[in-house]
Symmetry: D2
Subunit: 366 residues, 4 copies
């Protein structure tokens, strides 16, 4: 709990937005795994700020210095620690925020939890910047999964009320998922880019921000991964997805919509196809009884609008114990959704590694 | 993972639907806690089958025999084990299902995971019956929480496309939540009961079943509970909610709808009220940055329609390796939602106990 | 921690000596594993009381009723719960002990920890009787290990100051270990049985008890199991050995004696034998750097004399808050060592299962 | 397991002897804890090489750069990461060792576990150098414990066959323990220093090394800490002690010697002293039934002789698959015991923090 995840693919993250450095330790990478650092850097760049008009103009190279666990290009099998120095910090922007609680942020909840001792600069450990270690870990997990034939990709399913076309949950192809990874604004229907960008611009112009939905899928996951109850695929994946700041809802398969259906329209009829068991539909998003059934895993995560906005907001001043107002200056994303795509993919990748390793430990004694 | 949850309020569940007995072990109940067994029995009865026309006619008293951890009516502080004997099992109904995979069920996923060795009778360990131990544990957790001034309750937010009124997320009262617990069909707007029951009856008449949504809240949870990232309130609660069979989506606060909003309509403005910090709205469902902010915790879980239906469904026969059809006889709930209400409440109660104990362990060394 | 052990071979134990029942849940047994219940019963009988003059005359059949996780003689892959009813409880013997703290027992430490709410009858959850679930779990673990060619056995290395011959740590044979299991008083040098029994009788005649040492070995464990630091073989095994009540010291290989040596006499020289790497000596007990090196694992555990003795002892009365004396009546083992042999073997078996499964989970992703 | 310890005081260590950096992440330090970095540096210096003739001449400043979790001198409550750069690495010394397995080291066991991909330079992750992060974590833990009135100290109980006087387990004083910490060669009987140093010099002159015993104690630990079975004080402490490379035996209280005793000489008689319950003796080392009883915690750990010696040793060459001989050049400690004293203290400090926090989490819900 807290800063660590997993029993097999063990991830520990650390760091504050404006501290010396952020980073992570991954314990459980098989010895001898060649790490493709260029591929990791590509994923880091997808999350990095300053590269798209929807994002904050703060620029961080987000280069990871691996200080342990790698020798001659391969994992040693012992804990891999990577560091990302914080090079571009303008703490002055945040001075007034120590007392004035930013609505929608963790400021007040964190103040109570940590008795006022948490690092207030730039959101401290609550900053979206701490998702960079998640992306690093996800990039490593993705390489392990790729060797097993598993591909993960995601698109912007919606920004505000502009929706992209949905993934066809039955016949998602690995190459299509990988192609999505190559875009800074991944969509299934390119015609949606212009109106989505317009929605972001409109919010920005109004000193506001806007939320969205990310749809993510994994293909190639064999049937039989996950466990009933506390180790269900949905349980483990959702634990990670809800670790991503700003995620407020998670759906698998038909998600909320399944509640309105009858079983005759929610059950996935099964049949043999080329000697393999498969489903004609995928209302369950590839998971039944908490276990993968061989169909693509499909999920959606709702991302709330970035709470840091320049608009005047009503809030409290803990120093004076009085009501006050707040207008948040500084560089903030008017829409975090495009940068969050790779974070959601990473969360799924980490969870799938953990789940596949969990299965393996039991099977080994058979 | 798998059959156990928690680092503080440690819960282990076991059992198969048609095995000898099901049950659970809870480790972490403070020594000396008086257990109100009548209150536990009331929660068990809310989940028990056979008591409402929406439910299966299978009758199980679901009486729990506590075999350890309780002495003279109080918790001893050592593991509490409770057993529920399986008294009413008609395995004959399920004979054909060993080969024929039931669509929407864990049959196929479980068959692959366990190599065909899982108990096939009545769904085995995948059965909704295994939520009875969750309810027991939830009832214990609820008593611990009540002593801290925390109340949990839930209502049927929707069955099919009939929606109840939503909870007002800002001013939920403990007594209202407790009143909801006393109904077998808890609603905020009683006028919705008739159309909801009609929707269930219609599905049943069509040899079908129907899903729904459960909305659940906790009040009295102090600010400062939970952690950023992997131990976020949403992460821990969702891990448990997605452990409940049939849950396919989980929302906190505005949930999926927050994605369509702007921050000015999603941030919860703060102000002082009687010297306390509070929020004017509760779009975040009582959680910001993974930590409680003192507002009511509000969540919704989508429950899929019971997959066991009498309608003819297309599926596979693993024995003959051929396509086939299946019509599921036996006693099944045309709508599981009313019985699942207490299960959702229980999941939230267990998660909150875990989270509160996690906070305490750190604070102790301050 | 507390009542549960392991991340892979998950064991949860529960119960009090004079409660309704004691038992355990094991999660992680591979589906399809045939369980040899007769072999389990043989191990249970080795620990059971009433069968040897060194032991208490309390008779408990210690028959295990498996209520879940087993179907048609094979593990289902889901949690296996076994129950042992407490049939022979004479609580009257212990009435005075609620106030009078028994020296050498957990009475006082437990009283403080649990605020006086722990079950005082017969030692409650502290009773040596709670090692019965460990033996059950060990018997299951042993079957999994046997399928991998691993055998475990132990002998009484000493009772009081009478020592058995030591195991030759270099060339222990599986059949010799298995032969040891068949004896109620396992020794390498049968001539030591008479003086050891005489030492026990002498202690009993003096209303006293006597301690001893158990030496345990595992052969067939492949090199490469375990991890540096917190998951070292010694760390995991010792965690379990020190869980066994009365164990106060644990040694691997040369143990305490290695401290007096020079490296030239403590390092194990290596050489090729029939194409395999092996060691000429085994001062390290089969473990270097926390990882198995292919040599037999050899360890010793010191077992303190049963603290319950009929002699008058000086102690405190918590009710009157005065000093007092105590003479413990009831049926107690004048020497627990012979019955503890199978418990020590079980602890090693459980630890090795856990360690082997841990290795496997990482390898699976290679 | 593996690189992480604890559920409350969560420690993750990383690094290889000759990699870029080593370090640790600690999660669970209470927010607001002032960290005395000078005191931490003092403990680091006690372990650091190059400062005593018994130690290797390799000099490493072992200065820790804290990159997260600390703000304005106080813990933020989020993960604290500290880095120790490796500044003084002479990898050339170790070139031949990639093929030739050093007896007594983890070389062969590690080679099998990691398939030859572990970092071979200077022992890699197996190096005693990786105890530096343990000492850092122990120094932090010690500060938390000191605030609760707990002091920890240790002395060199033996080097080779020269023994120091033992601690009096009944009346150890905090100030005496703290005084021991101030010595590079802590002894109770200063007259033993000369013969001990002579034993080390003699071993060195013989191109050999020598082992020893460290005795460690904690005073001020309240009664009631720890749990029966898997979370026993001995279980948790021994898990950490056996994580320290070279430890091959661990004793609590009378340890191995208790096996030769009768209960009348092993039970600790209790009495009231100034209204408090205490014991007249401390054969159990402050722990009964896995739980502290308020007496000093006393333990001993046997440390094997440093396996790296200049003497010719028989071993295998994995490249040629032939038998060979090996003489280990480079800078090595002829006796690691003096430097290991602070490591053993640190292991105990970390374990006690974990155990005290574990107790607190349960009590919080009472």
């Amino acid at each position: 709990m807290r800063g660590s995840f997993g029993q097999h693919f063990r991830l520990t993250i650390f760091g504050e937005s404006h501290g010396d450095a952020i980073g992570m330790v991954i314990d459980g990478i098989p010895a001898g795994t060649p790490l493709d650092e260029a591929a990791i850097a590509r994923d880091m760049a997808r999350r990095a700020p300053g590269l798209d008009p929807t994002a904050t103009s703060r620029k961080e190279p987000d280069r990871v210095r691996i200080v342990s666990g790698l020798f001659e290009g391969r994992a040693t099998g012992t804990p891999l620690c990577g560091l990302i120095e914080n090079t571009n910090t303008r703490s002055g922007d945040y001075a007034q925020l120590r007392a004035k609680m930013r609505p929608g942020h963790a400021d007040y909840a964190g103040h109570v939890k940590y008795g006022g001792y948490n690092d207030p600069r730039g959101g401290g450990h609550f900053s979206g910047r701490i998702t960079a270690p998640l992306v690093f870990a996800g990039a490593v997990a993705r390489q392990l999964l790729a060797a097993k034939g598993i591909a993960i990709g995601a698109h912007i399913a919606a920004i505000g009320d502009i929706a992209d076309d949905p993934l066809d949950p039955v016949c998602i192809r690995a190459d299509a998922l990988i192609r999505l990874q190559q875009s800074r604004f991944p969509l299934l229907n390119p015609a949606k880019e212009a109106p989505m960008r317009a929605a972001v611009e409109a919010a920005k112009a109004d000193l506001d921000s806007v939320g969205g939905v990310i749809e993510c899928a994994a293909v190639g996951v064999p049937a039989g991964i996950g466990s009933p109850f506390f180790g269900s695929v949905e349980s483990v994946v959702s634990q990670l997805l809800f670790s991503v700041p700003a995620v407020k809802a998670v759906e698998f398969g038909d998600g909320m919509a399944i509640a309105q259906k009858r079983a005759s329209d929610a059950n996935d009829a099964m049949h043999y196809e080329n000697g393999c068991v498969t489903c004609l539909t995928n209302h369950n998003g590839g998971v039944t009884g908490g276990i993968t059934n061989g169909m693509p895993i499909v999920l959606r995560a709702a991302v709330k609008p970035t709470p840091s906005i320049a608009r005047v907001q009503q809030t409290v001043d803990l120093m004076t114990a009085e009501n006050t107002t707040l207008s948040i200056a500084g560089r903030h994303d008017p829409c975090i959704v495009p940068r969050a795509v790779v974070v959601i993919e990473s969360a799924l990748a980490i969870a799938l590694c953990e789940l596949m390793m969990d299965n393996a430990s039991t099977r080994a004694m058979q």
